[in-house]
């Protein structure tokens, strides 16, 4: 296990190092699919330059990272390598999550006999961490994002640390990393629910709204979470000496003033929006991201790890400035759900569409921006298709997960009353 993992790490580092040294790095760093106004390295450098000029980095509308990030890079001289290293370490951290996952799946002993083929063998489980690491480290999306020095890598690292500490059962660290992730970009706020569900499950506290122990635990977690968030916000205030960063970071994420094209749904929609409906649709689109938390946590309250996956996917599809780095994070979970593959309905179609879209992004961008022979609709069409494919992918996994759960409790080969083979439908 250790040897292949080391080999994988060396391979991943080599690829990244080679790309850093090549002339492709500058090209990749300019790609709108890889960097967003929030995460672009160029903008971080601009923020540092403004800081050197004695101007607040938030005085302008170029820098939108959080104050802690800019001070982190202000004190770290070796900027380029650090992002790269953190991004690599991040993935190594994601790996052990799956060790925990094993135990969880092994409990499946108590299911009906004919479901045995649904349950993963320990041998399969053994290779899952390696597969996850491979899926993340060698994913072209991650590599691109890392080579472009997108700060998205740092966000992913924080979220991975949060998942790790949650699964290890460390309440304090989990709360701290979650608040750090929230502080970086508001959306991980929705990961509160799966964290609470997982931690209560681990500590054998029943999720019962009438029980005091449940509320006490929620209060504890909320206190730790809000406390560390408060500390971070105050720390930023004291570093900068002003609250300028709040509208510049969070206002920027929520009100979407920068319509630079990206792979998300926001940019063209709000570029073409009628002025008097702008606020309404802005609210609808932002609430849309947070809205899924409640029904998903109710439905998946027994399976918080899958809930984390769903939340991450929803965030990365519907967030205001998505990049391929965000997608890479939830794609890394896919090997964990390898046992669902037999229930996936249209994985072939979806993966073809995703691949085709990834190839078409640069082509249509070139046609629009450089060749002038296409217009914005071409690029927009591809972002639409890409997002539809992602939605289908996620809902397909959700469907497969629910179906497996159903089979686990009712048996794999269901029969109709008259003894013929039954087909399952959603009703």
């Amino acid at each position: 296990m250790a040897a292949p993992l080391t080999l994988l790490l060396i391979l991943a580092v080599t690829i990244r190092a080679a790309l850093y040294r090549s002339s492709l790095a500058d090209l990749i760093a300019e790609r709108v699919e890889v960097v967003s106004p929030l995460t672009a390295w160029k903008r971080v450098v601009e923020g540092l330059a403004l800081l050197d000029l004695g101007v607040s980095p938030y005085a302008g509308d170029v820098f939108h990272e959080t104050p802690l990030i800019i001070y982190l890079f202000h004190f770290l001289v070796d900027y380029a390598e650090i992002t790269f290293m953190v991004s690599a370490i991040n993935d190594v951290f994601v790996v052990p999550i799956q060790f925990r996952k094993q135990k969880y799946a092994l409990e499946a002993e108590r299911y009906p006999l004919d479901c045995l083929e649904l349950i993963r063998s320990p041998k399969e489980m053994y290779y899952i961490p390696l597969k996850v690491a491979m899926f993340y480290l060698l994913n072209p999306f991650t590599i691109l994002s890392c080579v472009a020095k997108s700060t998205c890598g740092l966000n992913n690292a924080v979220i991975a640390l949060f998942i790790l500490t949650t699964i290890k059962g460390n309440v304090l660290l989990s709360a701290i990393f979650l608040s750090l992730a929230t502080y970086q970009s508001i959306y991980p706020l929705t990961l509160c629910a799966p964290a609470l569900l997982y931690l209560t499950q681990r500590q054998y506290i029943p999720v019962n709204f009438r029980r005091f122990s449940f509320w006490w635990f929620v209060a504890q977690y909320a206190f730790m979470y809000l406390g560390s968030l408060f500390v971070m916000i105050c720390l930023s205030f004291f570093l900068l000496g002003s609250w300028d960063y709040l509208p510049s970071v969070y206002g920027f994420i929520l009100s979407v003033p920068d319509l630079t094209p990206n792979i998300g749904l926001f940019w063209y929609f709000f570029a073409e929006m009628f002025e008097h409906f702008r606020l309404f649709f802005l609210c609808v689109f932002q609430i849309n991201i947070f809205f899924y938390t409640i029904p998903l946590s109710i439905k998946l309250k027994e399976h918080p790890v899958f809930l984390i996956f769903m939340q991450l996917a929803v965030i990365s599809i519907f967030k205001s400035y998505p990049t391929v780095g965000d997608i890479a994070l939830y794609l890394a979970f896919l090997p964990v759900w390898s046992h669902l593959h037999r229930f996936l309905r249209n994985i072939f179609l979806v993966s073809c569409v995703l691949l085709a879209c990834s190839a078409l992004f640069p082509v249509l961008w070139h046609l629009w921006i450089y060749a002038g022979s296409a217009n914005s609709n071409f690029y927009y069409a591809i972002t639409l298709l890409f997002n539809v494919a992602q939605i289908l992918l996620v809902s397909d996994y959700f469907y497969a997960f629910l179906r497996r759960e159903h089979h686990l409790s009712y048996g794999l080969y269901l029969k109709r009353k008259d003894g013929s083979e039954a087909t399952l439908v959603l009703k």
Binding site: E46, A49, A271, L424
Partner: protein
């Protein structure tokens, strides 16, 4: 106090004699008389100082300076003639009005490219104070519309210019009054103004009405507060740039509708004097046209105890006479303006035409007719120039035909121009609609002196500048600016402002580059012709350029108007402002025909996401029951009606 009483008794006398005047009028005059009684002795002292200072310059100059002083009384008489009613002469002679003075002049400079540069200047100086609490309500020469603007908005200085075309420094030399293409407005407010931004907004709207221009499009997105480039040109020690606003509209088209209100501000309108030449059909058939209004407070005398307000209206025009004269190199006033001059403006204390003959001392290049014996020398823009002077207040100038039609006939086309020492250029580099780079080139042609220049760039927010990519290189080496003032833009709120002080090495080109990113705007934020591109205003290069000749530092001395615009603090250098070309930058555009489609399609995708999750969240798996056939279903309905259990 005695003077005060005296003036009051004189007023009483007038009031008795004056039956035509209404009560309101008389009130106004008392206010004026009372207020200005203390300033009675000023005209005398100022003429005295003028006399003293005229002793030093060249002989030729003294000739017209002397006539200047004598002229004062005929001018008044002429003014009275204009205003005709007899009793008013009594008013003007017995009660001293606040002294105002109007001068007009036209400078004609044949350019080496074969073009003709004509520069009109009209100056009204009024010894009054708009800023004190009392209202100034009696206007004589000063236009009332502008006077009210000054007092209402507490303006300290106002400079506005409308320009069509770009001044080609390398072919034409330095202009007397530089101006960027389009409209430019910069205003210093009094430090008593509390809300400068709203005052500025109101002021631009009022000026927009006065000049029939789109100045109302000036808002916070194209207004900057330069920290060093635009210092007050008049007196004033307030240099806190919070009271300064600067804006340009590079896209503004200047035409007749701007010229007409501008001409109306002149005391004689376009009826008499030099202004009769300002016919729009000729003025706008030119290579370059620039008209400006400058208002500033000035010292009345050398000691600067009292201030007066100066209104300077300038109009610069460059005619391309090659095309209009069918290859013949000769021109006349009639050819240029389709008018000849017959008289000076009767209200003007001085009315002169200067023709630059520096390059033509022996008449070998061109020939001017009618010839004039009057010559004048002035040091302007770092050079001592010689001018032939035609004094329009002298009847002899018009000769026997009672009209003046200056004629220049070129003899040879050789000769080289004195190259301007400072020159600027700008362009956008890069391709595609994603990023780009602004290059600004600053040329120092001085053979051995280096001098510092202030570069001001105001770039709209939709070109996002990356200040960390700023490079300044001269002669292949990095040239670090000694001062940088950078204000980053805020989306839809304010533009980028970049000001820096760069030392230009002798005989060199300094290149300033900065990268930018083009933003995608909301579809309503594009101009009606979005693929034409967006204009970025000119960079402003301001500098004190080392002078070859000693400059005139005395600001109160009588000088030709064209040489006295920029105040000169020291003899060894002179102030120059150079404007670069405006930029035209393309931005990526959305498809403007698509808003409904985009809203529908994006909402559909969101709905697909919502729908599929909703489906999975709310439904549960069930074993599919076989679908009963249509006949069976109908039979079941019938059975249900009959009350029989279904099949």
């Amino acid at each position: 106090m005695a003077a005060h009483r005296c003036s009051r008794s004189a007023l009483l006398l007038i009031l008795c004699g004056l039956t035509l005047f209404t009560a309101a009028d008389s009130q106004e005059t008392t206010v004026n008389g009372g207020h200005h009684a203390s300033a009675v002795k000023n005209p005398q002292t100022s003429t005295e100082t003028a006399d003293q200072t005229t002793e030093q310059p060249a002989v030729e100059e003294r000739r017209w300076e002397a006539t200047e002083v004598e002229e004062a009384t005929p001018d008044d008489a002429a003014a009275d003639k204009q205003d005709s009613p007899v009793p008013e002469t009594v008013v003007l002679t017995s009660v001293p009005q606040p002294k105002d003075d109007f001068q007009e002049e036209l400078v004609i400079r044949p350019l080496h490219s074969g073009d003709i540069y004509a520069s009109f200047q009209f100056r009204t100086v009024w010894e009054t104070d708009f800023t004190r609490g009392n209202k100034v309500s009696h206007y004589r020469l000063f236009p009332k519309s502008l006077g009210q603007v000054i007092s209402k908005f507490s303006v300290r200085e106002l400079h506005i210019s409308f320009t069509q075309g770009y001044w080609r420094t390398m072919q034409w030399g330095q202009p007397f009054q530089p101006a960027p293409p389009g409209a430019e407005l910069w205003v210093w407010f009094q430090d008593s103004v509390t809300d400068v931004d709203s005052t500025w907004k109101e002021l631009t709207n009022v000026l927009s009405g006065i000049f029939c221009a789109s100045l109302n499009f000036i808002d916070s997105t194209n207004t900057v507060q330069p920290s060093a480039s635009f210092k007050p040109l008049g007196i004033g020690n307030v240099t806190d740039h919070r009271f300064l606003r600067y804006a340009t509209l590079p896209r503004e088209i200047v035409c007749t509708e701007n010229l007409t209100p501008w001409k109306k501000l002149l005391p004689c309108g376009s009826k008499a004097g030099l202004a009769v030449l300002l016919k729009s059909e000729k003025l706008f058939h030119s290579s370059f046209h620039s008209q400006a209004v400058h208002i500033r407070p000035m010292c009345q005398d050398w000691e600067c105890k009292t201030t007066s307000w100066e209104l300077r209206q300038t109009l610069n025009v460059v005619f391309d006479l090659h095309t209009s004269a069918q290859g013949k190199r000769e021109w006349s006033l009639f050819k240029m303006f389709s008018r000849t001059l017959t008289e000076a403006c009767p209200l003007a204390s001085s009315s002169k035409i200067y023709i630059d003959i520096t390059d033509n001392p022996e008449g070998e290049q061109f020939e001017v007719s009618p010839a004039t014996p009057l010559l004048s020398q002035a040091s302007v823009l770092g050079d001592r120039r010689t001018f032939s002077v035609y004094d329009l207040t002298q009847q002899i100038t018009f000769g026997t035909v009672r009209s003046l039609n200056l004629l220049i006939r070129w003899k040879s086309s050789e000769g080289d121009m004195l190259r301007p020492l400072l020159h600027g250029e700008r362009y956008v580099a890069g391709y595609g609609l994603q990023t780009g780079e602004i290059h600004t080139l600053m040329y120092n042609y001085h053979p051995y002196r280096s001098f510092p220049v202030l570069l001001l760039d105001s770039v709209p927010w939709y070109l996002r500048l990356y200040i960390h990519t700023l490079t300044v290189t001269s002669k292949g080496k990095d040239n670090k600016p000694s001062y940088i003032h950078y204000q980053p833009s805020k989306d839809r709120v304010r533009p980028h402002l970049l000001e820096m002080l760069v030392q230009l090495p002798p005989n060199s080109v300094t290149e300033v580059t900065v990268q930018f990113e083009r933003a995608l705007l909301k579809w309503t934020e594009y101009t009606p012709d979005p693929n034409h591109g967006f204009y970025v205003g000119s960079s402003v290069i301001s500098s004190l350029v080392p002078s070859i000749v000693a400059m005139d530092t005395n600001s109160t001395r009588e000088r030709p108007l064209f040489s006295s615009f920029f105040p000169c603090k020291e003899e060894s250098s002179y102030f120059v402002r150079v404007y670069t070309e405006p930029l035209l930058v393309n931005l990526p555009t959305p498809d403007f025909s698509m808003p409904y489609n985009v809203i529908c399609l994006t909402c559909t995708v969101v709905a697909v996401g919502y729908g599929s999750l909703y489906n999975l969240l709310t439904r549960s798996f069930q074993i599919e029951e076989p679908n009963p056939g249509l006949a069976k279903r109908i039979a079941n309905v019938i059975r249900k009606m009959r009350g029989v259990p279904p099949l």
